[in-house]
Amino acid sequence: MSFMFWILAALTIAGGLAAVLLKNLVHCALAVTVAFAGLALLFLQLDAQFAGFAQILVYIGAVAILVVFAILLTRGSETPKKEIGVFSRTWLAGLVVAAALFAVLSWAVLQSAGGLSQDDAAPTVSVLQIGQALMGRYVLPLEIVALLLTAATIGAVIVAMHEKEDSK
């Protein structure tokens, strides 16, 4: 357990918590960006450079920006009124469920911690191999993802497009 790992884990968790807890939506968005960055660094820690950079490119470069845009377009940036909090009426139940889930998962992890592999030899994987895998063994998923992205782009555009009749 490297020292680096703990720092990054703390950063990520902190970012996640902030994202969930903060009042101002934009702060949440920025916090989640921090969490994304932390995750990307964790990936690098796991010798998964490609995945890490892809994570940065996609999440910080695109998703975070999208979220921010959405927030500004839905006037979410103003801090909400005091009388209704940022949490829904049923927040307690939600919290309980989440806690239960975490309990179960961690229980599972600790249960099976003994059986987990100990070896720490970093696998040497070049981008070339990844590319060949993408184009060879995983070409079908790749094509499907490409289709999915196209469909999603078009769909998002159509969904978010202004209907001509209701010009509010």
């Binding site: 829904s88 049923t90 139940a93 939600g94 469920v97 989440a98 239960a100 889930l101 179960v104 998962l105 229980w107 599972a108 249960q111």
Partner: protein, 696 residues
């Protein structure tokens, strides 16, 4: 063997065509006019020229094809081989039984094809002039083309079924064309009458066909030895007896003959033909003189092997005997009636009937060649006469009563000349005219008939009458002085030209049937035709020729003596009427046949209809009412049960359902997070279970 093959491959035509292959495309001949009629049906009324051009063009192409086919057959014949080529295919297949259709090309069909196409074409052309001022011009040509197609279909059919289809189609078009001027009640009535009367015959025809199929399992005429007109099957038919001491062959033949009689207006089904003259004159010429009525004769010729099956050499069969007697009787009977008619077209109609009788008699006694030869010649000169009559009517402003005409000799010379030729041909003026030779053939056959001499005398008397009434008509129409109103005028070229052409053939056709050179007979019977006067050496032939000439001349003279050049007024009674009033009235009223039918058949039907109506109202109506009442009672019962038992339970169930639904609906709150929560909860539980089960 062929049957098996065809059963295995339906729609695979088994053709016995020669290398020429014309009979492969023989179907085009009827198809073209039918298609043309279909196209014309889609045309708008003003497009007269297009319609006429289309139908005439299609028929012209058909004529060309027919001529090619004819040439093919002739060439085959001159090379000493009797041509009979067929194309058959399976139409319907039910299990092992299958119904085949097909067409045949043999001398009979070839001759008939050429005749129908040729006469039809001339009449089409004539019609363009005659119908020029009718507003339903396009409709007329549509029907006309359809008729031509159907008729040609009858001609080439190699299957009794296909023939029957086209036969009915012909009947339909004849109905449509007779009733063409449907606004005239008389025309509508005539159309109905024609349709129903021929139907009577067709029922028998259908019966005969079904029986034939039941007996032989095929309706094909010729099928490489397996056809119903070929020795194999005929033997089978002869072997199976039927009632009244007839063989199956004879019985079937009689049934089919009934159909033919209906179509060809033989006794006792002739009544529709004179009334059919209500149609436009070209129709009368085409359908009720040249082609359709001949279809009956053609049918008999087509099934002739069946008719004469089992006949000894020179002997005859029951079927043929019946044919003969009916034919002879019709010939005489119709001729008698014709004497006392005043409507120019009716006279011709009755003469047609009587001539058809001659043909039938010829078939019955002398065989296919004799009957068919008269058919061909008659087609030409009768078409000529009808069209001449049409031209006369046209010229006299739609006047049809011969007593209101007269002296047209000067007014319309062309018509007169051609009409005179036709009249002489019909009455069989010696040596020159085709009618003489064809009728002579029939008389000769009658003279040598093995059963009896009566038909011979009847036919001779008929010939005399024919000459007589034709003379009467001509002298009424063309001689004497003008008794009509307005001024008569000659018809346009488009009408007179066909007349001239037909007139030429009315004379020329005689050449191919003289005893000196019996080309036609030889052609039909498929043996070589040799030229020479040996033909005249047959015993009694010359005497017969002399007799018939004398008879004809006698008729002509008698007619001229009584009617020639006198121009009696309309109101003055006819010469014969003054001589023998009762006979005259009987003839005038066509032997009261219509009235007879009126008081017998029709009255019976009317009574039967009343009975049926009464049954319908009282008996069946009562039953229906009873059933309805019962059901109403049942309905009452079920309603009660519904209200008191079913509804109770059902309502209860619905209540329960809605309650439980309400409970479930609590969950369906529409709050996304609730769903997500439940989902997560489920995941937790599942994961817990999994781990619990997997540990240890």
């Amino acid at each position: 063997m062929l049957m098996q093959e065809m059963a295995s491959v339906p729609f695979a035509p088994t053709t016995h065509c020669g290398p020429a292959g014309i009979c492969d495309s023989l179907w085009l001949i009827p198809a073209l006019p039918i298609v043309a009629s279909g196209v014309i049906a889609l045309m708008k009324q003003p497009q007269r020229k297009a319609a006429a051009a289309l139908s005439i063009g299609s028929l012209a192409i058909s004529l060309l094809l027919a001529l090619v086919a004819f040439g093919h057959v002739v060439s085959g014949w001159t090379h000493g081989a009797a041509v009979r080529e067929t194309v058959n295919f399976t139409w319907i297949q039910v299990g092992s039984a299958h119904v085949d259709l097909g067409w045949v090309l043999d001398p009979l069909a070839a001759v008939m094809l050429v005749m129908v196409c040729f006469v039809g074409l001339l009449i089409f052309i004539y019609s363009t002039g005659y119908m020029a001022h009718d507003e339903n011009f396009t409709r007329f040509f549509c029907f006309l083309s359809l008729f031509a197609g159907a008729m040609l279909g009858v001609v080439i059919a190699n299957s009794l079924l296909l023939l029957f289809m086209c036969w009915e189609l012909v009947g339909l078009t004849s109905y449509l064309l007779i009733g063409f001027w449907y606004q005239k009640p008389s025309a509508a009535a005539a159309a109905k009458k024609a349709f129903l009367t021929t139907r009577v015959g067709d029922v028998f025809f259908l019966l005969g066909m079904v029986w034939l199929f039941a007996q032989t399992g095929t309706l094909l005429f010729y099928n490489g030895g397996a056809g119903s007109m070929e020795a194999l099957k005929l033997g089978g038919l002869l072997a199976t007896p039927s009632g009244l001491g007839l063989t199956a062959a004879g019985a079937i033949g009689l049934l089919i003959f009934a159909g033919a009689a209906g179509k060809s207006g033989q006794l006792p089904l002739h009544v529709w033909l004179p009334d059919a003259m209500e149609g436009p004159t070209p129709v009368s010429a085409l359908i009720h003189a040249a082609t359709m009525v001949a279809a009956g004769v053609y049918l008999i010729a087509r099934v002739y092997p069946l008719m004469q099956a089992g006949a000894l050499v020179g002997g005859t069969t029951a079927a043929l005997t019946v044919v003969t007697w009916v034919g002879a009787a019709t010939a005489l009977f119709a001729a008698l009636i014709a004497v006392a008619q005043n409507d120019i077209k009716r006279i011709l109609a009755y003469s047609t009937v009587s001539q058809l009788g001659y043909m039938m008699a010829g078939l019955g006694m002398g065989g296919v060649a004799v009957g068919m030869f008269h058919l061909i010649t008659h087609a030409f000169f009768k078409a000529l006469l009808f069209m001449g009559a049409g031209s006369v009517i046209h010229g006299c402003h739609e006047e049809q009563d011969i007593r209101k005409m007269g002296g047209l000799r000067g007014a319309m010379p062309t018509t007169f000349a051609t009409y005179a030729i036709g009249m002489l041909a019909l009455s069989g003026f010696p040596l020159l005219f085709s009618g003489f030779w064809s009728k002579d053939g029939i008389l000769e056959a009658a003279q040598h008939w093995s059963v009896g001499k009566a038909p011979f005398y009847m036919l001779v008397f008929g010939a005399l009458l024919t000459a007589f009434y034709m003379t009467r008509q001509v002298s009424y129409v063309f001689f004497g002085k003008w008794r009509g109103h307005g001024q008569a005028h000659e018809s346009p070229k488009v009408m007179t030209t066909p007349l001239a052409i037909l007139a030429f053939f009315a004379i020329a056709l005689g050449a191919i049937g003289t005893p000196a050179w019996p080309w036609f007979r030889a052609f039909l019977e498929g043996h070589a035709a040799e030229f020479g006067f040996a033909g005249f050496n047959e015993p009694g032939l010359l005497a017969l020729m002399v007799t018939s000439s004398v008879v004809v001349l006698l008729g002509l003279g008698l007619g001229w003596w009584i009617y020639g050049n006198k121009s009696p007024q309309v109101e003055t009674p006819d010469a014969l009427e003054r001589a023998v009033p009762p006979v005259w009235t009987v003839l005038q009223n066509k032997f009261y046949v219509d009235e007879l039918y009126g008081v017998t058949v029709i009255a019976f039907y009317a009574w039967w209809a009343k009975v049926a109506d009464w049954l319908d109202r009282r008996v069946w109506g009562g039953v229906v009412a009873l059933v309805a009442w019962l059901f109403r009672g049942g309905a009452q019962l079920s309603r009660l049960s519904d209200e008191y038992w079913v509804n109770g339970g059902f309502d209860k169930g619905c209540e329960e359902l809605s309650n439980s639904g309400g409970l479930l609906a609590r969950v369906q709150s529409g709050k996304v997070q609730t769903y997500l929560r439940l989902l997560a909860l489920a995941v937790v539980v599942l994961a817990a279970i999994l781990i619990w089960s997997s540990r240890g």
